[in-house]
């Protein structure tokens, strides 16, 4: 198979998955609205299109499934059969199968699904539907009329926002990269090109880059000669006013992201070097020019970084579009009536977040429906509306993205949690009793904990809420729970906006420098050694009447301390707060705050070594970035407090 073909297949997978994402919520809508021609036609067209393209690519299994589903949709569209739950279920099944087939294709795992039973099922469902409604409905609808009916309303046209997908990021071709305060605007100068094929992208990129360079030069000129800003806007302005999207392979964006990271590192080094010259040759005119150039680079680099980061951002809607169906299926299977409301689906998050937030959120939703929301009878008995409600709310707060999942169910019974935790041997009775209610809620995140006596089909599967916590901490985020008995439970997920470049605190221990991500750091303290007490083998420190376990960083990382610094009569403590956990890390020296670019380390077991990655500092040294979440998991497992 040649590269061109391979690329087309990749594009097909992406586009087909996107189509499925788009039509899936339509089914739930269809169930609510009944036989809505526009909705049916939307779904029909997507199936039809997927089938058509798959045919060209020789993907026979996909053709078979899509064809059978399309047949049903066509009959529905032409009102030859009536919509029914069995029909809906079997079509949803076919969507699941299509997804599965696409995954096999993507993974190239060579697994062949047996689609024959499903195709048979689809055919049977159609047959039943025809015999059910065959006589009552006039099957002789003229083609003309059908094709008129196929004209969807304006609102059905695909919104650009839902165009995002897993393997490609839509880049706003007219995205502005501001060069400096003078608003240098870079645009793809020929918008027609934007619609061109993927293969032409390097050219466009080249155009854009050379434009950027030119504009940067011009802006420099503008600073000197005070040129009018409108002269630096490319001439093709009229054509670029329409929002244009460019579909770019994600690996290309990641490459740019990497390069931007490198630029940041070089910038940091240059800043260091130029500071040296500034100190040494203050009066030299060239030094002044050098400083000017470096500062300019500094500003541009920051803007470049933001620009690249924005390219990777996608509306979180991409994930949320799956939830209406999910909630429908789950609530049906546990015979509960649940309504889902989603707010803030336009909030943009990093692509990596999109890829990894789906599973933990799905798990939380499952839990809310399975354990949180009561049955209609129970709800009526306690004076609530019979229909349960789950609200997902997403918003940006500073440099954090917050996702709240709120249900109006019965809440978490904290005393029950304590009891179960003791029964399962996760803690002693005394420990459970001593726990505050806030701490006790977090029992649900302990590995091996599930409150239902018999694990139900949904929340069971041996996967607990601990996985939710782990997944979210992989994104450098954390999750908080609050609950009120009888009123409901809220899960609040906090995730940093970007994952590639972070603010870090540089620390030193045993002469080695480490970077600690700033987000989980609550405060830093300088304490005298005599303030540190040892309780049953565990060092602790009292901070404002709260006992906090304390660990030496070198020991925590598994190094044997060389003892040099044990003579010091004071220590620097970094107070880390991760959701429910709070602890201190002792280091020899606090160096300062720095913006670091996370470089992944290949061939290193990052979980075992508690290293997130490495970065290169301004003085050109390689420094490890610590994985605080992993460290905390390990330390708190050992802690006795």
């Amino acid at each position: 198979m040649n590269d061109e073909m391979e690329e087309i297949i990749q594009e097909f997978i992406t586009e087909a998955e996107e189509s499925l994402d788009k039509i899936e919520p339509r089914f739930v809508e269809l169930e609510q609205k009944g036989q809505d021609t526009n909705l049916i036609n939307d779904i029909f067209r997507s199936m039809h299109t997927i089938k058509g393209a798959a045919g060209f690519l020789g993907l026979q299994l996909i053709v078979d499934v899509a064809h059978s589903a399309e047949n049903i949709m066509k009959k529905l569209r032409d009102s030859e059969i009536a919509l029914s739950k069995p029909l809906m279920d079997v079509i949803l099944e076919s969507i699941d199968m299509l997804r599965l087939l696409l995954i096999h294709l993507k993974e190239k795992d060579g697994v062949e699904e047996d689609v024959a039973p499903l195709v048979q099922e689809l055919a049977n469902a159609l047959k039943t539907a025809i015999s059910d409604s065959g006589k009552s409905i006039n099957t002789n609808i003229p083609i003309e009329q059908a094709s008129n009916a196929s004209k969807p309303s304006e609102t059905m046209s695909p919104e650009p926002a839902s165009e995002q997908l897993i393997n490609t990021v839509n880049v706003d071709a007219s995205a502005e990269v501001t060069g400096n305060s003078q608003e240098t605007t870079t645009r793809s100068s020929k918008p027609a090109q934007a619609a061109e094929e993927l293969t032409q992208i390097p050219e466009i990129a080249k155009t854009t880059v050379s434009n950027t360079v030119k504009n940067a030069e011009r802006t420099q000129a503008a600073v000197d000669v005070e040129q009018k800003p409108n002269e630096i806007i490319p001439t093709a302005k009229d054509n670029t006013q329409k929002a244009q999207n460019l579909r770019v392979d994600v690996s290309r964006i990641d490459k740019v992201m990497d390069l931007a990271g490198e630029v940041v590192l070089v910038r940091n080094r240059l800043l260091n070097i130029s500071n040296y010259f500034d100190m040494k040759y203050t009066d030299d005119q060239m030094t002044e020019i050098l400083m000017e150039a470096v500062f300019f680079l500094d500003r541009i680099t920051s803007d470049l970084q933001i620009g690249v980061m924005k390219m990777r951002m996608q509306p979180i809607q991409k994930i949320f579009s799956k939830f209406p169906r999910l909630v429908r299926d789950i609530s049906a299977s546990v015979k509960k009536d649940v309504e889902l409301q989603i707010f803030g689906e336009g909030t943009e998050v990093d692509k990596t977040v999109i890829e990894h937030i789906g599973d933990p959120m799905t798990h939380i939703l499952r839990n809310s429906i399975d354990h949180g929301i009561e049955s209609s009878e129970e709800r009526i008995a306690s004076g609530k509306p019979p229909k349960g409600k789950i609200v997902i709310n997403t918003y940006q707060k500073g440099t954090q993205i917050i996702i709240e999942i709120m249900d109006d169910g019965k809440g978490i019974d904290v005393d029950n949690l304590r009891k179960k935790a003791v029964e399962k041997g996760l803690m002693t009775e005394e420990e459970a009793r001593k726990m505050s209610d806030d701490d006790a809620i977090n029992i649900i995140f302990l590995p091996g904990f599930s409150t239902k006596d018999v694990a139900s089909e949904l929340s069971g599967r041996g996967v607990g809420m601990d996985v939710v916590k782990t997944n979210i901490s992989l994104l450098n985020g954390y999750v908080e729970v609050s609950t009120e008995k009888g009123k409901g439970t809220t899960f609040k997920i906090n995730i940093p906006l970007t994952l590639a470049i972070i603010q870090a605190l540089m620390v030193e221990v045993d002469g080695a420098k480490y970077a600690i991500p700033l987000t989980p750091i609550e405060e830093t303290l300088k304490v005298s050694k005599k303030d540190i007490t040892n309780i049953t083998g565990q060092n602790v420190i009292v901070i404002r009447d709260q006992i906090c376990p304390l660990f030496d960083l070198d020991k925590a990382l598994g190094f044997r301390s060389n003892g040099n610094n044990d003579d010091l009569d004071f220590k620097y403590l970094i107070v880390i707060s991760l959701g429910d956990r709070k602890f201190c890390i002792a280091v020899d020296k606090l160096v300062g705050q720095e913006e670091v670019v996370i470089k992944t380390l290949n061939g290193l077991d990052t979980t075992a070594s508690f290293v997130l990655g490495a970065t290169i500092t301004g003085d050109g040294k390689v420094v490890f970035i610590l994985d605080v979440t992993g460290l905390s998991r390990n330390l708190m497992g050992l802690a006795k407090v």
Binding site: I8, E15, R45, A53, G55, K151, M156
Partner: protein, 131 residues
Amino acid sequence: MSDFKMKILVVDDFSTMRRIVKNLLKQLGYENIEEAEDGAQAYSKLKNGGFGFVVSDWNMPNVDGLELLKKVRSDPEIKDLPILMVTAEAEKEKVITAIQAGVNNYIVKPFTGEVLKEKMDKIFERLAAQK
């Protein structure tokens, strides 16, 4: 005899399909190919002129292939533009509707480069004979 410089418009809402058709056309030797996502976009591109041939999908949102065909045929400026319609399967009624609306030929998905060439050659032969 085929004019490989001729500007061709490929109309389909699924970008993979546009790419496939474009590829097939390129294999046949055509170089000047543009794309449109639906009938509305296609129509405004065609109005700008310069196109010698259209390959259009039938099933599209907004303005579908049949509507595009009708619009083109009723527009004095571009009414003679040859249009090849792509359909999923040979549905007789559909084909008849399209022929009545003035389509030059139709092609059933999936098709090969040879079939596409055959259909295009037929269209151009017939057009040449009419002149």
